[in-house]
């Protein structure tokens, strides 16, 4: 238990993190509604070091998607700051690449043209950008599907196209919002392996938003557990499983213990959320 819970880490960035790249500094987000302001994210602080894989987990409605949009610069921050490499975020930042939960491929573009999209925006010459796109298509294991349209691919393949497209822009931070949520369990596990492999290969810094405990433990160095409404930091759990990791570790005892511990914290919040939902539907 104690090797995991370090209450002093909640407020301060952990000592273990190598040179912080992303700093979320006392960030609050309020939404104005007809019934008065609603606090979606309440005073969250977190740092992500270079090469680190950090997950944010919480029950539905805890504001984790709001946090995703704040870091991605698609929403404005009410209080506090978010910095990447010391630069404050106010709008989508070139160092941050976003992968969304929904199918976000462009249906009128082939796989290769989807992946080349950010390079096209940068004004890169056609030959160069196609070559680079081809590299990232292969990286996510879609070699041979370059000329296919998204409608001809499975959901898991489309999500890999999205990941490749985001990676093609070579972001310093890969920011993902439940990228596997719409996929079946087996695809989800295999895709998790793929993401781990890529992260290893590129030494990619990743911030993952999820509600899946297994996924969070399988992939992350640290897991931030959020409370239900308003979204606060409940705890930051260190996952000290050896790397490289694969989905084969899922059956190990240590893995099971981490999952149980995260669930113990999450359970209270999730049941609060459920009671809230039941009250609302009454």
């Amino acid at each position: 238990m104690n090797d995991m819970i370090r209450p002093e880490q909640i407020a301060q960035p952990p000592v273990t993190a190598p040179e912080p790249m992303l700093v979320i500094d006392h960030v609050t987000k309020r939404f104005e509604t007809p019934d008065g302001p609603v606090v979606a994210v309440d005073n969250i602080s977190l740092t992500v070091g270079r090469g680190e894989f950090v997950s944010i987990i919480g029950p539905s409605g805890c504001g984790k998607s709001t946090l995703f949009n704040l870091v991605g610069g698609l929403l404005s921050i009410s209080d506090g700051t978010i910095r990447i490499d010391g630069e404050a975020i106010n709008g989508p930042h070139k160092s941050i690449g976003m992968v969304f939960q929904e199918d976000a491929t462009f249906p009128w573009r082939t796989v290769i043209d989807n992946v080349a999209f950010p390079l096209e925006l940068q004004g890169m010459a056609k030959g160069e950008r196609l070559e680079r796109a081809r590299h990232f298509v292969s990286l996510v294991g879609l070699h041979g599907f370059e000329k296919r349209y998204p409608a001809e691919l499975s959901g898991g393949m489309r999500q890999r196209v999205s990941i490749a497209r985001t990676l093609a822009a070579e972001p310093k931070l890969l920011l993902m919002d439940e990228p596997f949520a719409a996929l079946d369990e087996q695809t989800r596990l295999l895709l998790g392996d793929k993401v781990l492999q890529i992260q290893q290969e590129l030494n990619q810094t990743v911030l993952l938003i999820t509600h899946n405990i297994t996924e969070a433990v399988q992939l992350s160095d640290r897991v931030l557990i959020m409370t239900y409404r308003p979204g606060r930091t409940k705890r930051i759990a260190l996952i000290e499983l050896p790397r490289p990791r694969t989905s084969e570790m899922l059956s190990s005892d240590t893995f099971g213990r981490y999952v149980a511990e995260v669930w113990a914290d999450l359970r209270e919040e999730a049941s609060r959320g459920m009671q809230d939902a039941e009250r609302g539907s009454r």
């Binding site: 991605g72 698609l74 929904e102 976000a104 462009f106 999209f117 096209e120 925006l121 409608a151 822009a169």
Partner: protein, 260 residues
Amino acid sequence: MAATGTLTIPQKSKMDAVLVLRIAIIASLLVFWQLLSMSGLLYEDVVPGLPQITAGLYRLLTTTEFYVNLKVTAGEILAASLIGGLTGMIAGLSLGGSYFMERAFERYFYYLGPTPKIIFFPLMIMWFGVGSGSKVAMGAVSCFFPVALAVAAGMRRIPPILIRVGESFRANRWQMLTKVHLPAMREPVVNGFRLGFGVALIGVLLAETKLSNQGLGFLVIQNYQRFDMPGMYALLIAIFVIAVAVNAALGRLSRGGRRR
């Protein structure tokens, strides 16, 4: 292999059956027409037989008069579609892109859209003269509304996620328009243009039949006044074939380039 063979054969013969039926409908219509013409129930001058119409068609297609007027009408329709289409597109983009504009103006578009534009023709003559100007104006006004409404609706139907993707990659306004909005609404927009082209054609021809001294609509009325029924039917067939051909070409454009 055998399985695919048995699968494709019935489908192919079904396609053939559709084709046969289509030809049969045309053939029976022609036969019916010829019988009606020969029955003497109607004046033979009003319902001329197929040989007379064929002769009329031959006469029409071998005179320069037809081509001169076809060119006039085609130019008018093209100009009307371009003017109406472009202004309609700009109006549609601003309606679809802003909730404020939608609330303020879209209602009027829905009211004016189905209004028969021919009631404005006297105005158009006063403003643009009896020549091609008033015909182009008629066509452009007709074309404007369906294009504007289709573009506005198409813009609203773009999945929000695709716009967020564009924003997350920091696309500028022009890139958003050309690389996200327009391709995402290609189908409704092309269909809107198809509809717009159709009504532009109606507007121009209708205006030509009302008051003009050139164009296919003028030729139709001229043939009617001369009581040259075979010539008139021949013209109707020619116009019909042209309209179908252009529509088919535009339809192909809306489906092409994107596999499903």
